[in-house]
């Protein structure tokens, strides 16, 4: 039996370009992008901010975690039209004035190995500490439940957070 197969084609729409303005790490940016371009791609490709990583692209790993209007979001799930007028903070902002205490704690307690989950993880810890400066166990587990790390087994990450308490 012969099967003539081409991959099922989704309709590829001609992408509509839009102008968006957003504030990234304190800098106003106006860019022309496709309306549905993902924030993670805008950051990594248009703005060369490759500190934000990409791994699952479906909101399950947190490698792309950034803050949008002070709330932690997965940049792989946010589209260009949703960021217009928003304030975005990425890992690059955290060390603008020297290392952030979270970063120091990660360095001292082995909060990372390959480092690929680290930018997202550090942003998630920041979101946690912004809300709960002295988090309890439940708050730590809750806050980091969306961030996967394959290297550390999380213990070094927890040591880092406890160190800052």
């Amino acid at each position: 039996m012969m099967k003539k197969q081409t991959i099922q084609q989704e309709h590829v729409f001609e992408q509509q370009l839009i102008n968006i303005s957003l504030c990234v790490n304190g800098q106003e940016q106006t860019i022309e992008v496709e309306a549905t371009k993902r924030l993670v791609d805008i950051l990594r490709e248009d703005l060369q901010l490759t500190g934000t990583k990409i791994s699952c692209e479906i909101g399950r790993c947190g490698a792309c975690s950034v803050m949008m209007d002070k709330k932690l979001v997965n940049a792989c799930l946010i589209r260009a039209y949703q960021v217009n007028g928003k304030e975005i903070m990425t890992i690059e902002a955290l060390s603008q004035n020297g290392l952030h205490p979270i970063q120091n704690a990660f360095l001292e307690e082995g909060g990372f190995q390959c480092g690929y989950c680290t930018p997202g993880m550090v942003m998630a810890v920041k979101a946690l500490l912004d809300e709960h400066p002295a988090p309890d166990e439940e708050q730590i587990l809750q806050a980091l439940s969306g961030n996967l790390c394959r290297c550390t087994g999380y213990s070094g990450i927890i040591r880092s957070i406890l160190k800052m308490k």
Partner: protein
């Protein structure tokens, strides 16, 4: 919570790549972008097994923005790759054997156009019967997937006579263990940048052995190796999964064809579909012992599903066969292993290298026998342990070691084994504890090319450059190199420049695999330090007129050490202005002298104690405490060592309780982290403790062993034993199924 301690966690120096990692400034190779680069994408097979009748690429080529569409016709050299045999086609043109098989690749000006072009490539297939089980593959009536049939490799070890000794055993246990297809799940998927150069090609793509990639690419591209530069570091994790070529052939071919830089970065779905996994194994074991608990006979049959291509399948099987008796002395052993081709993905190198599977079976047998004999599991192990100067598990000469005895003794003191468990529990939650032991070989073993080496130089800028062909995959190799070099030479970290993972700049060091990196850096420095120091002090002596016997290397330069006087005599910079210096070494990883394919010489050991809580209503198994003792020689970098053990342990927890890359009829059912579950922060135990035993056997001159794998092996059998204690049910299949736990309750 957060009781994560260790006997070794003193302060470590911050790792050299640390600041760049925590600030997000480190450029991984998949972060690289360059002006005018194209985006590459690979068309993978629609079928797990099919004939290809026709491939037509015209429509794809005509799509505006597409710069090249390539197929097997565009491979100038060998259309194949593979670390042992190059049996995996770069591009298939007549038959596909798994869903990750590549048929064509596209380069276009945007990733969207490249993706669209893939949809325009037409492939006519004739589906063939799918072999989705190694038992089926063994069946002589099954269609052969390769010219030599479906048996990729067979390995055996026989000593004594098991058949004659079983009747003399007071108790015999027989069981079949089933181990799952685990995914490496490195956070950074495969990818990189490929740049055509005037004199060849530069490849920036993660791998665990840059020189090997260069060799394989040179065969494919028909380019001399000297015209290919492979930059292979840093990486966002690998765990064995990036040792084999992945996207490199496609990026390289597209870059050379278009004359433009090409970037490829696989999506997670593509990575799952094309990437290698851990070997699923079915291990049937019959083991007998006397009523005193002496093991007499051990018969093992291993069936490994290697998937569509060889890659390191034969070596993984050899490893499993070698480790079938672990650290125990069993007078009668018969192990037969079979590694079979199927249409199920490709299995290859994975942290643990066959050790996880075989140790689950071995330790499971010991626990069952101990239980039937009414002997304490620790005591049972002790009674059968090898002596320090005994030979290795396949009768080969090994470096004498009592690591097994030490870790077992240490774990016997674990407080978690002493806790009262009977009362104060909810009736639907049962607690149990378990212990397991493992012995794990380092290096590639006898008969495998396993060269290592390194280079040290004083360069023109007065920097001491230490160079290795190794890669930083996350394991902390840079910190190891920094620590060992400053210690061996005497210079400071500021004087040092570490060069790794670049075939144009670093020498051959062999692969960053098999727990060999740390060990090989140490061995290299043992060889490099004498001649290098000698050259520098001789030069310094000539400049300064101090006798060279009074000169040592220190911070910033060569120092005079005379009585209590210490002063800087000449800086490295001044020395370099006179003359640069370099010393290189090449040697082989130590192996056993006995001609046993893959036979190891250096081993490390771990013993694990675990406490679990089984919820009888949901079937959920929660690990609440893990304690482990590791014997792998001196600790080089405490944080790195601890991180390897802790991280490896949690990866093993996933293997035991959560992870399986499921396939149905040769197709992946689990395609991403929504269905393939790796441990999250909620899955880890509230307490973990690691003790490092640094002592080596007297006269052992082999230094620190690597610890990349040793933390991943013994947890699974320890959990299985703990579940038995909690529920009375022996688990034989991983990952542990909640349904199975629930059903086992119903039967009781």
């Amino acid at each position: 919570m957060g009781n994560y301690t260790s006997s070794i966690l003193k302060t470590s120096r911050i790792r050299p790549d640390g600041i760049e990692k925590v600030t997000g400034k480190l450029s991984y190779l998949t972060d690289l972008q360059i002006q005018g680069m194209l985006y590459g994408k690979v068309l993978r097979s629609q079928y797990p097994h099919a004939k290809i009748l026709n491939i037509s690429v015209e429509k794809a080529e005509q799509l505006p923005g597409v710069k090249a569409v390539i197929t097997s016709k565009d491979v100038p050299g060998l259309n194949g790759f593979g670390l042992i045999f190059p049996d995996q086609p770069v591009f298939c043109d007549s038959v596909v054997r798994y869903v990750g098989d590549a048929i064509a690749a596209v380069a276009a000006i945007t990733p969207e156009i490249a993706e669209k072009a893939l949809h325009l490539i037409e492939v006519d297939y004739e589906p063939l019967p799918v072999i989705d089980d190694p038992e089926k593959a063994l069946d002589p009536s099954s269609i052969p997937l390769h010219p030599n049939g479906n048996l990729l490799h067979q390995a055996s070890y026989v000593n004594g006579n098991v058949h004659e000794s079983f009747p003399h055993c007071d108790v015999v246990v027989e069981e079949t263990y089933q181990l799952p297809r685990q995914m490496h799940a490195y956070m950074e998927t495969e990818g990189g940048l490929f740049i055509p150069e005037e004199d060849g090609l530069s490849v920036y793509a993660g791998t665990q052995h840059g020189y090997k990639d260069r060799f394989q690419l040179s065969r494919i591209l028909d380019l001399p190796e000297t015209e290919i530069r492979v930059v292979s570091s840093p990486m966002g994790g690998s765990f064995g999964g990036k040792d084999e070529l992945n996207i490199q052939p496609y990026g390289a071919l597209l870059a050379l064809k278009t004359g433009c830089p090409v970037k490829i970065h696989q999506s997670r779905r593509e990575s799952v579909c094309a990437g290698i996994k851990k070997h699923p194994m079915k291990i049937t074991v019959k083991t007998g012992a006397t009523k005193e608990g002496k093991l007499l006979a051990h018969q093992v049959r291993i069936l490994a599903d290697t998937g569509a291509y060889a890659t390191l399948g034969p070596a993984v099987l050899d490893f499993a066969v070698e480790h079938a008796v672990g650290p125990y002395v069993i007078p009668n052993v018969e192990t037969h292993g079979f590694c079979l081709f199927t249409n199920n993905g490709v299995a290859g190198e994975f942290r643990g290298f066959g050790g996880n599977q075989i140790t689950f079976a071995l330790e499971g047998q010991i626990d069952r026998l101990a239980d039937q004999l009414g002997i304490c599991p620790l005591e049972m192990r002790k009674r059968n342990l090898r002596k320090p100067t005994d030979c290795g598990p396949v009768g080969q000469e090994i470096a004498p070691t009592n690591g097994d005895e030490l870790v077992l003794k240490e774990i016997a003191h674990s407080p978690l084994l002493k806790t009262e468990k009977a009362h104060k529990q909810d009736s639907w939650k049962k607690v149990g504890t378990g212990v397991a032991l493992t012995m794990h070989g380092g290096g590639l073993g006898f008969g495998r090319l396993d060269p290592a080496g390194g280079k040290i130089a004083l360069n023109q800028d007065g920097k001491i450059q230490i160079m290795f062909g190794f890669e930083e995959v996350g394991q902390g190799l840079l910190a190891v190199i920094e620590t060992l070099t400053t210690k061996a030479i005497g210079c400071s970290t500021a004087d040092l420049e570490i060069v790794i993972g670049d075939t144009d700049k670093a020498p051959h060091s062999g692969s960053s695999t098999a727990s060999r990196g740390t060990s090989m850096v140490w061995h290299s420095l043992e060889r490099l330090k004498g001649p290098f120091i000698e050259k520098l002090v001789t030069q310094a002596s000539a400049i300064s007129d101090y006798p060279k016997e009074q000169l040592v290397l220190g911070e910033n330069g060569v120092w005079l050490c005379e009585n209590s006087e210490e002063k800087l005599v000449v800086t490295y910079k001044q020395l370099a202005e006179e003359k640069t210096v370099s010393v290189e070494t090449q040697f082989d990883f130590p192996t056993t002298p006995n001609a046993i394919p893959g036979g190891h010489f250096l081993y490390s050991f771990a013993a694990v104690a675990v406490k679990v809580e089984v919820n009888l209503v949901t079937g959920h198994v929660k690990v609440i405490d893990i304690d482990q003792a590791v014997a792998a020689g001196p600790v080089v970098n405490p944080i790195g060592y601890l991180g390897q053990i802790e991280g490896g342990t949690i990866m093993a927890l996933g293997y035991t309780l959560l992870e399986e890359a499921q396939m149905e009829e040769g197709r992946y059912v689990t395609n991403n982290f929504d269905s393939y579950l790796i441990p999250g922060i909620q899955d880890i135990p509230a307490s973990m403790h690691v003790r490092a035993i640094e002592d080596l056997w007297e006269g052992d001159s082999y230094g620190p062993r690597g610890v990349g794998e040793i933390g991943t092996i013994a947890l699974a059998p320890a959990i299985a034993r703990a579940i038995y204690e909690a529920t009375g049910h022996w688990v034989t299949k991983l990952p542990v199924s909640r349904d199975e736990i629930l059903q086992s309750r119903e039967r009781i």
